[in-house]
Symmetry: C2
Subunit: 347 residues, 2 copies
DNA sequence: CTGAAAGCGCTTACAG
DNA sequence: CTGAAAGCGCTTACAG
């Protein structure tokens, strides 16, 4: 069995595949990359060899030629740790798959944003990904734009004009959740808002108010509680809502952290969830499945959005290298309403 | 200013640096990699050029030669989403910095472990990282070992003999936390255990019991509640502990999720934290700072452990490629006792 | 201590 | 539709 006598030292390369299939490395490369201009028979031979040899492309080799060794910066301030983790996971996954180098810069106020931007530029980034809430920072994005660096905004509620972005439709997501609560039979529904400076928070609130109105229900101000997306703010808001004389039978929180807080308060008042109170969130962060009962929420495909951001910024970089200025893309990904155990018809 | 006339198309390469410094690319490479066998003067010149040109090494180019394009697998089952996210973050960071390709396989029972292992092997991985709880799965690790593939176990409480691992000292961590509670003046301390099949859980429990005993306090079985590391199990355990006639003044939970549950139950009973009840956790996952009051806990440097795992597995891979079989390393990283607002002297 | 040569694995032009 | 040549950016051996 001379075939098995493979050096354990080195992996299978495209040359091995080409030899095995009896074609040139170029043809092998074309098949592997899905180029259709290859005779069907050769394509089959190459595919068989790939399978038989267990070939996996070496990304470093590929990217050296293709991505032209692009470098992508991530400029973030302070979203929740869980959210950022998940997003970075997607960004790093796709970067390593595309052979892109990632540089991360953290910043706070406007001044530090300028400094962080400068550092990224000096490090020679070819494009920048901007997670929330910086995705809505006009000065920062303009700053990058003026330096000729492509930008992809992640999870903005309303992407700035001319800026390529990846997001979900926050309005439709919040609308879907409100409708779900209405369909369950709830009419007295409380809503805990997110940070009013964040565009997704604005849209989620608007969708709730509009959808209630359509159902002939007025979202009065005593049912609209202010929050800041933090657990702590959720605690205060939930306490206010759940102590109303006419207590809501359901509370829709603009994110999962505040929903966790609402569940803690409800628990504190001895309310059974979902029997006496339905609690729902938004985002589907890890906390949603940590809680018990598990949280009904709107799933945002954060990891996939991270991957998409890298793909989009790479496209922009390539276009630019060829001297083109492509129109901005607005990639709207699908959200999902995930029904778990924290929601039911009013008791 | 002819100097500024840099093609925006391509980044600064080591050739540019070498030319600018008036040396060969090799000398530039040596300086950049910290090789000491370079004349001081040349070293300075190269460093200056690197700074002036804003040179950043292209990792794809480097790894093509150095890492010999190593491929690392991650074989995981189902730890908490938050933990895995954070670990993967470290793993991907370091992989992309080292030009290593990462392949991830998920599995469940023993049979699927074998299948997942086979898939990784077929994909040509040169080494495998095994997060908890699989890090303690003897059959899986032996399986890889027999195929000659280096393994790094992450966060095992007691690494299997012969296996390289990255971990913290769970025993000392739990001991430090217990001592802290004792120093605050608590004597009646409840403990919620983790999944008894997990080695870290075993050590944390043992450390608590031992440290209490040293202080002349017996950790009676009614103060030792069973848990499984899940929020839900924490809820049940906390309910039992907090309803004891002689209620503990502090509860030490074997992880943060169970501490979150304990706080929810305490909240439910109208207990002020930390005034009437101190609650502490272990791990310092994102939930610890999401809660309010924020949780006192043992910080485990999960991201850094992910990075270290990659570095270690790469070392093993290189050694093996040179025909050596190095002795296993047991890398014990530092934990930190992070004091936040959920702990205080008994009221 | 320094450098000229070669090559890591892959793909982009270019020629047929 | 197919392939021979060249080169992406870097570093490993080898020679001085």
């Amino acid at each position: 069995m001379a075939q098995r006598e493979r050096k354990t030292t080195s992996a299978v390369t495209i040359l091995d595949v080409a030899r095995h299939a009896g074609v040139s490395p170029m043809t092998a490369s074309r098949v592997i990359n899905g180029n259709p201009r290859v005779a069907a028979e050769l394509r089959e031979r190459v595919r068989a060899s790939v399978r038989e040899l267990g070939y996996r492309p070496n990304l470093a080799g590929r990217s050296l030629r293709t991505a032209g060794s692009a470098r992508v910066g991530v400029l973030y301030s302070n979203p929740s740790a869980a959210y950022l983790n998940e997003l970075m996971l997607g960004i790093l996954e796709q970067s390593s798959a595309s052979g892109v180098q990632v540089l991360v810069e953290r910043c706070g106020d406007i001044r530090s944003q300028r400094a962080a931007t400068r550092r990224l530029v000096e490090a020679g980034v070819d494009g920048v990904i901007v997670p929330p809430p910086l995705c809505d920072s006009r000065p920062t994005i303009r700053d990058l734009d003026e330096r000729g660096i492509p930008v992809v905004a992640v999870a903005s509620g309303a992407p700035l004009p001319g800026v390529t972005s990846v997001r979900i439709d926050d309005y439709q997501g919040a609308r879907a959740m409100t409708r779900y609560l209405l369909e369950l039979g709830h009419t007295r529904i409380g809503f805990i808002q997110g940070d009013p400076k964040h565009t997704p928070a604005q849209l989620r609130t608007a969708a709730f108010v509009d959808t209630m109105a359509e159902a002939g229900l007025k979202a009065t101000s005593n049912l609209l509680a202010e929050g800041m997306f933090t657990y702590r703010s959720g605690l205060a808001a939930a306490e206010r809502l759940l102590k109303l004389k006419r207590r809501p039978t359901a509370v829709f929180c603009s994110n999962d952290d505040m929903a966790a807080a609402t569940m803690a308060v409800a628990h504190g008042m001895g309310l059974r969830i979902p029997g006496q109170l339905t609690v729902v969130g938004f985002d589907d962060t890890p906390v949603a499945t940590t809680l018990w009962p598990e949280l009904t929420t709107i799933h945002q495909p954060v990891t996939a959005m991270g991957r998409a951001a890298v793909t989009l910024v790479l496209e922009l970089i390539r276009e630019r290298r060829q001297g083109r200025t492509p129109p901005p893309t607005d990639r709207v990904m699908a959200y999902t309403l995930v029904k778990r155990q924290s929601s039911a018809a009013p008791g």
